[in-house]
Amino acid sequence: MAFDEELAQLQKLSGEYEPEATGPLVGERQSSAAITTEYANADPIYRIKTAALPAKYAYFRTCRGDGHCGWRAIAFTYFEALVRVGNATKFTEEEARLSSMHNLLDSAGFPHDVYIDWAEEAFDLLRELAQSLRNEDGRAADLLLHKFNDLGTSLSIMTYFKLLASAWVQSNSENFKHFVPMGDVKTYCSLNIEAANCEIDNVAIVALSEAIITPAGIGFEIMYLDRSPGEEVNVTPFSQPTDHTGMPLPNPPVIRLLYRPGHYDILYKAGDFSPTVQHQPVQPQTPLHVALAAGYHDSFIPVDSNVDVMTMIPGMYSTGLGQRWPPVSYDFDPSPTPQAQMTPVQPYAPTPTPITSVPSTHQEYMSPVHASHMAHHNIQLEQPPVTLPIHPPRPPPLSIERSPLTIERGGPFRPSIYELEPGFASGQVHSLPFQTAIFRNSHYNTAHFLNPDFQPEEWSPDTEYSTANKGKYKST
C-alpha cells in the first residue's frame, strides 16, 4: 500500500517534471554539421540520417524547447522568409492581408480589443523590417532575431498566430472536423490551439500553412528526424504556393523545420541565403593582379600543418580526401555574392560539401576563425566551370570546405605562394579584386596557361632554403 502510494507519488512527479528550457528563444544560424556531431554517438539510424543532413540543409537554428518551439519556429521563419524575399512592399501587403483575416477572429469570438494588441505587435515588426529593407541598412535579419528573443514580443506574435490558426480551423471546420476528436472543432481549438501552453500539432500546422504561409507565397516543409527506416530525414511538404492560375511559383522562399520527436528547430538550404543583391552596392572591379603583386617575397610562410600535399594528388589516398576531385557540384550554392554581406551575425559556417562530412573537421565548421574562409569559398563557387585543353580533367576547385586551408586550388600542383600567401586567409582583400569576368580567382585559373607569356613558378633549390635568412638573400 505504502509502496503504491510512493509509486503514485513518483508517477505524479515524473508527469509534472519539465526540464528547464535553456538557450535563446531563437538561436543564431549555424552549420547543421552541429546536428551531425550531436548524434555522433546515437543509434545508427540517427547517425546515418544526421550525417546526410548537412549536404542538403546547410544551416540550422535552434528554438528553445519550452513547449512553444513549433509556434515560434513558424512565426519566426514566416518573417524571415519575407526578409529573404527582400521586397519592402510585400510587408505592407502582408499586413493588409493579415488584417483582412480579423473578421475570422471576430467570428470565432475573440474580443477585438484583446487580440489587437498581439496583431499590432506583429504589424510593428512587419513595418520595422520593411523600413530596414527600404533603408538598405542590412539590419533586418538582426532586428528579427532580436525581436524574437524578446519574450514579450515573441509571445505576442505567437499568440496572434495561434488565434489566426484557431479562427482558420473554426471557419473551415468542414475540412478539419474529421481530424479532431468527436468532430468538436471549437473545443479542440480552445484546448489544443488557443491554450497558452500547448505544443503545436498537425492541425495547427496545416491551419497556419493554409492561413498564413501559402497565401504569402512561401513554401513550407517539415523534415522529420526519427527512428523510422531510411537514410535521410522524411520530408513532408505543407505549402507549395501557386500563382493565380494555379501554377507553382518559381523559386519561392521555403520555410523548413526540423522535427525531432517533441521539438522543432529551423533548417535552411545553403541557397536560402543567396543574398539579395539589390541592397548591396556592387563593388567596383579592380584589376586583381595589382593587389596580388605586392609584398609576396617576404611573407610566404609555408602554411598550416594540415596542408598535406599528398592529399592533392588524385588517387593518392583511396578514401576521404581523395574523393574531392571528381564530383563537382554547383547546385548547392547558386549565390552570386559571398555570404559575408548577409548579416554581421558571425560565424556562419561554410557551406558543406556534397560529400558526407568527416567528423574530425566539425570544429572547423563552427569556429569563428574560419568564417573568412567561407566567403572565400563562395567566391570560388561562382567560378564558371572552365575546361581547358591543357588540364581538361581538373576543373577549378569546388568541394573543398572540409579542411579550409588545405586545398584552395585547382590542380595537382604543389602549393604556390600565390595561393597560400597568409593574407589570403584573412579574407579582407580578395572579395574585391576577384570579380573580373574572366580571371576571377585568377591565381587558380588554368586559363593562364594559354597565355604565351605565361611563366610558371619554378622551383629553385637556392631560394627554397633561403627563407630563414632572406634578409641576407635579398641583400646579395
Partner: protein, 167 residues
C-alpha cells in the same frame, strides 16, 4: 521569465499592467451582472472579485469573494484564483483552492478576468464531479440535494462576516 517592461511608443506589447488596466476599463464600462472585480492597489497585480451564486442552484443569492493574483507572464499564464469566502463545492478545497482546467493547463491568453469569473460562476451550478477536490460534496450533489444545500449554507459566510473575521 519577466516580460519586457517599459511602454512601447506605438502601443504594441501590452505589459501586464497595461493589459490589466485595459481589463479594468472594460469591466467598469461594461459591467457584467453578478460579477465585480477591482484591483487591491496601484500595481494591479492583486485583485478582489465577487461572484453571485447562480439562480436555481444551491448557491443562489449567496455572494462569494475571491482573490486574483497576476504573475509577470500574464496573460500568457493564468492568474492564481482563490475563494476567500468558505465554500462547500466539489471542485474547491477547504482553503479555497480551485480545480478548473482553464486556470491550469487549458489557460489561454484570450481569457481575461471577466471570462474567468463567468467560468467560476458556471462551475458553481455545474460542478465537475468526476475529479473532485471535495469528495463528499461530489457524492452528495446527486445523492442528497437537501443535505448538500444545508452544508453549503452552513459553510457560507457573508462578506460582512468575513470582514468581521479579519479577512
Amino acid at each position: 521569465m519577466a516580460l519586457s517592461t517599459g511602454t512601447r511608443a506605438n502601443g504594441g506589447a501590452a505589459t501586464v499592467a497595461q493589459r490589466l488596466q485595459k481589463e479594468l476599463m472594460d469591466i467598469m464600462t461594461h459591467p457584467t451582472p453578478g460579477i465585480t472585480a477591482f484591483p487591491d492597489d496601484e500595481n494591479m497585480t492583486r485583485w478582489t472579485a465577487t461572484i453571485d451564486g447562480p439562480a436555481n442552484t444551491p448557491y443562489a443569492s449567496l455572494v462569494f469573494k475571491l482573490s486574483m493574483e497576476f504573475g509577470a507572464t500574464y496573460p500568457y499564464a493564468p492568474p492564481t484564483v482563490l475563494f476567500k469566502t468558505p465554500i462547500y463545492h466539489p471542485n474547491v478545497d477547504m482553503s479555497g483552492r480551485i480545480c478548473l482546467d482553464i486556470l491550469k493547463d487549458k489557460w489561454s491568453a484570450v481569457f481575461n478576468i471577466g471570462t474567468v469569473l463567468l467560468s467560476l460562476q458556471s462551475l458553481l451550478g455545474e460542478p465537475n464531479n468526476a475529479s473532485p477536490l471535495n469528495g463528499q460534496a461530489a457524492e452528495l450533489w446527486d445523492k442528497d440535494p437537501a443535505e448538500y444545500q444545508r452544508l453549503v449554507l452552513a459553510r457560507h459566510k457573508t462578506p460582512e462576516e468575513l470582514d468581521a473575521g479579519g479577512l
